[in-house]
Subunit: 504 residues, 2 copies
């Protein structure tokens, strides 16, 4: 007998709806009454906190210091960089008043502001104004700042975690003496993200550069990490921008060079957001719900005491408490194991399924039989939810680190194999169209994956491909194959290999 | 010869200006171009991060889970609780548009929102709406949530950290089955803050209840922690509110009781903010700048290599690196020591003064003489900046934890003695007036401190005292003296002792 999986519909049946259902079943987030703004619930926020803590550690180790800048940006600041404001104007939440007043028994906006304020969609302009004050001489450079903050980009078609009007992120901002140093910094931070995605989230990403059409508004170069998720679409998981002197000129970030000349600084910015939580879900979860790589799991091991009769309680609870104490002495990846006991008076089966859906790597059932035999019944999130391993307490405590490492590694292997299986070198236009044509008209979400091809086109061709196939150039990968080929669209020799795909 | 202290003016000369200068000299924060919104610079933010990390640990250990709710609150939500909206209406930043459009070559607010959104001044209403969805049965209670967030209360007379239009805080929100349980929770969290203030920030606070006049808008009871700072004014360092069923009724937070009845939940909320950084400065710093209790110092020990000639460099740098490694193996208050080397090529004297002004507890100078002798020249922030202790490396490494504990304890002792010295039991109206009359008309900031007196007045009397003396009831202390006395204002027996003072 095969039972229905825990999540309905399955990934095959309806991927977008499956995604919503995984989030609901794991209790990660929900929509709020404010259009496009989500509520991140405790389990979802705990995952974000794990990401934050580790990323913060890595960013600080790379020499950046945290600071905090205002939520509000004067309209005139945003206007300083023409491309920048054009890129964000359609998404800006605008504060126009600073009090409420009663009018005909209702509250209405009261005192108008002299100059409207924009809720930051990103902070280049307000941080740039501060940098202009802080930087005088080459001795003040490089300046490396990071901010953890909320930002707002008004979203007409929101989707939990992936596209929300308000989201949480970190944004790094640096200033340098030379173009070379700033470009190297932008690349260094992209590689930092790449390592974080690989080691913590088990997410393989293609590192590359965006075409001019897809650049961050105001940037000279935009580097990106593109992750292929299970419906074979790409998610931009992190970006890093070389801003040239554009924002330095707009904001007057100048320094006295060692040679005594006034020069504009060279700046970068880079960020990742709560979108990573959505990427994690779409990459790793299955038809039984969320599946968390152990390094990012808020709880790595959950203990489920099985108590059917009151007289069993003392022995089982004591065994659980002892096990927690022993496990918390152990560590995985340099941190103490994160263990939780679920003491709620619910049937063991429903508790077990709840933790499957929440994606916890290891579930341990302990009942009177286990206490008597000194054993544990172990369920792994990377195996079938009904599969159980009976281990002695000693075996498990000594082996937990190893099992978690194995699970973490398994996530990576599967995701990497998936990416490879769904990346194809495309030789002809026909093959390209075929690759991106849905196999099943009922499931337009299921299509090819990443297409690699020699590119000799321009922005107009990019637009045409997007219109016809809904496919875009995700990036020009940094790691380029040595051979060159013929661009299937233009018949000309490709100037470089491009990676194309459908995207979130 | 007595030199001028590092900060000018001194506390005696001009306390408010001294405060600004301490912040500038320690590079903690600055005003931004957006009125009332500050930029928290890296050293100031690092102090806030230390507070956050420890407070977050304590709040989680108390059973609360972090979550994140929208920045924006629909106007209609705020209107649900009449007192609440009245309390915040004058301070609300209002978002009225969600895009920018070009008009006569300038950008202006574009698409208007159907309903204006308020940037959260606090989140009772939006979190209440979520609680109404999440809570169905008594089994869902208690519900304990905490949020780290930015909030906005438009401020016409801003002051860095103490009163800013945008500030950072945590706000806890809980829901309970009974009034007793919710009241106990509000008190428990106040006591948690009190312990945090005492142990981490070395701040003695008077725990008490606000009079109805000073309550949080919409609360049934507001508990507060009042800290006396060096100009003898009070700062409200944290508050905890018992909200009764007011917000539950406004938001429809209902549960099915064990007896099968639909009842409104009883809720609490509580918070502390970046105002704590300002409190810390005003309580502990001196005329040489910021002084940080070791437990909250981002860097506890700074090493200052003294290299006058290039041939000295290798030996000094090697000694520093060795010392850092040894110190980082040691811990204080359960955490590894936080050590930094200042390698900048600046004169030792100016570096030394910089770290004095930044408030680092221990400054260690290491030059060729120290390397040769196996000694260190140690400066303590709780002693004169010119005082030096010569210790052997071994003595210092073994003793660092003890010295830091001594310094931490010294901060507490001084602050506690100060509070006691400037708290007076007031017997008569004349004594009250005299206590709060500035000794020197040139320095209106320097006045009495905390006045303790038996209170038998009402809100009208409170208002009169505030108008005449600029003194308010800071709180009705939770710890009440057993004897009762006569209220100096009314001549009637006091119903309880009240604590009065001038306040920020």
């Amino acid at each position: 007998m095969t039972e229905r999986p825990a999540i309905s519909p399955t990934r095959q049946e309806d991927f977008p709806e499956w995604y919503q259902q995984v989030i609901a079943a794991a209790d990660l987030a929900e929509n709020s009454e404010v259009r496009g703004c989500m509520i991140i619930k405790p389990w979802g926020y705990a995952i974000w906190e794990r990401m934050q803590r580790e990323l913060d550690r890595r960013i600080k180790a790379a020499g950046h210091r945290n600071a905090y800048f205002p939520l509000f940006i004067p309209l005139s600041f945003l206007e300083k960089e023409a491309e920048h404001v054009e890129g964000f104007a359609k998404e800006c939440a605008v504060v126009t008043h600073h009090r409420l007043e009663a009018s005909e028994g209702r509250l209405v906006p009261g005192a108008p502001l002299a100059e409207p304020l924009v809720v930051r969609p990103t902070s280049e302009t307000i941080i740039g104004a501060a940098f202009a004050r802080w930087i005088q001489s080459y001795r003040d450079l490089p300046l490396r700042i990071n901010q953890w903050a909320n930002v707002v980009r008004w979203e007409l078609r929101p989707r939990l975690f992936l596209r929300t009007s308000e989201f949480l992120w970190q944004e790094g901002h640096t200033a340098h003496q030379t173009a070379e140093e700033a470009e190297a910094e932008a690349l260094r931070m992209l590689r930092l993200y790449e390592g974080f995605l690989q080691e913590m989230l088990a997410l393989p990403a293609v590192a590359g550069e965006k075409t001019p059409r897809e650049r961050f508004p105001g940037a000279v170069r935009t580097l990106t990490l593109e992750v292929l998720v299970q419906d074979r679409k790409a998610i931009q998981a992190g970006t890093s921008h070389f801003l040239g002197q554009n924002f330095a000129r707009a904001n007057g970030i100048c320094f006295l060079s060692p040679e005594g000349r006034q020069e504009h600084a060279w700046t970068t910015s880079w960020g990742v957001s709560t979108r990573l939580v959505g990427t994690l879900i779409m990459a790793h979860s299955d038809d039984n719900g969320l599946a968390l790589p152990p390094r990012v799991a808020p709880t790595q091991i959950v203990l489920l005491p099985l108590i059917r009769r009151e007289e069993e309680r003392a022995a089982v609870e004591e065994a659980c408490a002892r096990l927690v104490a022993e496990l918390e002495e152990k560590s995985y990846a340099g941190e103490p194991l994160r263990v939780e006991i679920d003491v709620r008076p619910l049937p063991g089966g429903s508790k077990n399924w709840e933790w499957v859906k929440k994606g916890v790597p290891l579930r341990i059932e302990i009942g009177p039989r286990e206490v008597a035999g000194g054993t544990l019944s172990v369920g792994r999130r990377d195996r079938s939810p009904r599969e159980r391993l009976s281990l002695s307490v000693r075996q498990f405590v000594e082996g937990a680190e190893q099992i978690l490492a194995e699970i973490q590694n398994g996530f990576w292997e599967r995701a990497d194999a998936f990416r490879k299986a769904h990346t194809r070198r495309i030789e002809s236009r026909e093959e390209f169209v075929e690759f991106f044509t849905p196999r099943d008209p009922e499931k337009p979400e299921i299509h090819g994956g990443f297409a690699e091809l020699p590119w000799a086109g321009d922005a107009a061709l990019e637009e045409k491909i997007q219109e016809e196939q809904r496919v875009t150039i995700r990036c020009i990968p940094l790691d380029q194959a040595s051979e060159r080929g013929i661009c299937p669209f233009t018949g000309k020799p490709g100037s470089h290999w491009a990676l194309l795909g459908k995207a979130y």
